[in-house]
Subunit: 222 residues, 2 copies
Amino acid sequence: MKITVLGTGAVGRAVAGRLDDLGHDVTMGTREPAATAGREEHAAWATQHAGVRLVAFAGSAAGADLVVNALGGDVVLDNLALVGPDLAGRILADLSNPLDHSQGIPPRLFVKDDDSLAERIQRAHPDARVVKTLNTMNNAVMVDPAQLGESSTVFVSGDDPAAKAVVSALLGELGHTDVIDLGGLETARGPEMFLALWVRTAVALGGSDFNIKVVRGPSLRG
Amino acid sequence: MKITVLGTGAVGRAVAGRLDDLGHDVTMGTREPAATAGREEHAAWATQHAGVRLVAFAGSAAGADLVVNALGGDVVLDNLALVGPDLAGRILADLSNPLDHSQGIPPRLFVKDDDSLAERIQRAHPDARVVKTLNTMNNAVMVDPAQLGESSTVFVSGDDPAAKAVVSALLGELGHTDVIDLGGLETARGPEMFLALWVRTAVALGGSDFNIKVVRGPSLRG
């Protein structure tokens, strides 16, 4: 697939790198490509992923079968606006979290409960086909859940069933074996609010090398 | 142990009944004992648990080694006020959730992110030793997690390490094999906000016969 990954931080590199390894045709969108290319952590990564194009946000989503939002929650709406009209009609996998670091550790959420970041993105880009997913785990687990040594769960939320099917198939390629479709995009409030538990669990365990598994009892087994 | 369970709804009955089965000395506190005793669902349960005393809130916690708050989130502060000064110095296991049903399904939370129901309880009863736990699963799983057929996770949060140790030991008696101590009572915001994901997962799966397991990767294994 032709995939555009928006964002060149740790999440963007992990996702773009893994999709490149899987043989997808990957473009990365960033605010200032020259500045990003000059960063040490990006340069080191780029030598392993020479086939990944690095371009400015504007136009980066043109022709993409799938766009991945790996932007920080605090800049996602501004940066998606720079991507522009190419988002119309496209599947937009939203991996971001509405983390508010202004109050220190642990972060709070700048939107929750009666709205979500995914819904804000959808309202700002009503013709995009937004699917919330993967925001409930760290980037290493996102792209290689099998490393945990045991099946764990990933969620999808979105109003477009066909878009969710495409995203779910890609999650399978990454190694996700238990994909729970929560329903419409409103349900993204659940995985986003889970971050409050995720960050505290990471502190308690002393690391983020974990994921949750939804263990079903007898009545819910297929 | 001498245990007082506050609340006589489904959670209270499940917890009090199981603790009675385990051989604990159980008292249930309720607003109007005669009215509760007259309810069909209580009467049916009480025939199986003749040793459990049903008393009014006032005085119900006197002499208890542990008090379990199984009250609905919307009435917990009012009803704890009726329990009165006997809460001072006692371990108070808080199982409640701040569910706001006024907006329909799914419920919202009437406190979150910068505060929690557990912290409100602690502030209202500064001498109680509040431990948040068990609020992340249905009552059948609370009292018998082994029925799921696989280990799953329960969390504890509280400012009093000795109180958390007592509660954790009791969780072990119920069959909980993975107890994560999140830290101080502030961390109760995490398990409480998880409810937003729990309710949507229950809708998606078509039932609440599940629990989450924190699957650790290699770096976090003991």
